[in-house]
Amino acid sequence: MKNFEEAARYHEEFIKGLWKENPVFVAVLGMCPALAVTNTAINGLAMGGATLFVLTFSSLLVSSFRRYIPKEVRITTFVIIIATFVTIVDFLLQAFLPAIHKELGAFVALIVVNCLILGRQEAFSFKNPIRLAMVDALGMALGFTFALFCLGAIREILGNGSLFGVSLFGPSFEPWIVMILPPGGFLSLGFLLLFFNWLKQRKEQKQSLVYLADTVAEVAEKNEGIIYLKRGV
């Protein structure tokens, strides 16, 4: 990194994927895997990890060869690259983590139609140098993993009384089973988005109140003289 500006640029591209432009919470992309495999925290993490693998390597390749890929066939080339890495991660999981592969099932293969990955290639990796593209990919993938972990953790804690398989509340806890079933996926993400909207709304209200207060103070300052006159002082 040459200077402070460049470092700041890298930092910005990385951070945006984690929160401000979080693929699941803000852009609402890649919902199919996000909801399907988040019935436990570890499944959510595993899916996030697989997506991280595919996204970083795909971005690496697309960015490295961006000058040699003609614009007309770029989407097809992206898809070939992404599908290759998805197949690779599928085989690797099957060989080295067969239990997790059984849990995730066909959804590992469905990473290839996750709009997040194709979207990042089209919007960023194709137009930017390698290091920047990698940093963007890492940020987005980590943001995605974080979102999946949140969902998985909420659903597992409420629906099974455990986290990472470790029972948290003891045998007297009556688990809210629907949380680990499909409706739980929809409801968890729905209420999470609702919560984030509420936070955003509160922040905006506070900001507009501050603005309002400032304006009133300004007007009051300007009109101080008139008020004194009106009171007959």
Partner: protein, 203 residues
């Protein structure tokens, strides 16, 4: 343009073949191990097994070269389990049946000498957690399937009403799932009995 796609396809193909060849032995070893564990679970006391395949209307031992060639059409298979001394303990038979949510896949052990089921394991189930999945977790249900006579028919009875050795009590709160398992056991064993008897007669 076409050249780009061609090169991309070529590299993709090479990468895939490499990873495939690298992971295939590991994946096959994993699957073989999982099968081994399942067979030994449902045929207690067994230490080795052989695969029997049903093709051309008869049950025959699958030779090693046949196993490695892996034909396109998969014929139904069962597994014969042997004790350390080489005695045939029974057959591990997989089966599947439509349950409450989706198909339930299970494997059970059959002892031909006593005409009894001696073991049971659920391989794959999408039943409701906490309710239907009691077929995996309910110890009483699982034990009741380990000394189950198959004659004249495996039947389901209400809890507390078991009077004969060919009856299985259903699970309260998981009636449909447990009835599915019982139906699976009866249907599958009836389907395999003729071929098994013919096979044993030839030994």
């Amino acid at each position: 343009m076409i050249a780009t796609l061609g090169i991309a396809g070529l590299f993709s193909g090479l990468a895939l073949v490499a990873v495939f060849l690298f992971t295939r032995p590991i994946i096959e070893a994993n699957q073989a191990e999982a099968l081994r564990l399942a067979v030994f679970q449902v045929l207690p006391g067994s230490s080795s097994f052989q695969t029997l395949e049903f093709s051309n209307d008869k049950l025959a031992l699958l030779s090693v070269e046949q196993e490695n060639n892996a034909p396109k059409i998969k014929h139904p298979q069962i597994y014969a389990g042997y004790s350390k001394s080489g005695k045939l303990l029974g057959f591990a038979i997989p089966g599947e049946e439509a349950g409450f949510q989706d198909k339930i896949k299970a494997i059970f052990g059959y002892d031909p000498q006593r005409r009894m089921l001696i073991g049971f394991e659920v391989l794959d189930s999408k039943e409701t957690p906490g309710l239907g999945d009691k077929i995996i977790k309910d110890k009483y249900f699982r034990t009741s399937l380990t000394s189950l006579e198959i004659d004249p028919k495996i039947v389901a009875v209400k809890p507390g009403q078991k009077t004969a050795a060919n009856q299985v009590e259903t699970i309260t709160g998981a009636t449909i799932s447990s009835k599915t398992v019982i139906r699976l056991l009866d249907k599958t064993i009836r389907r395999w009995l003729p071929s098994i008897n013919i096979y044993l007669a030839k030994q």
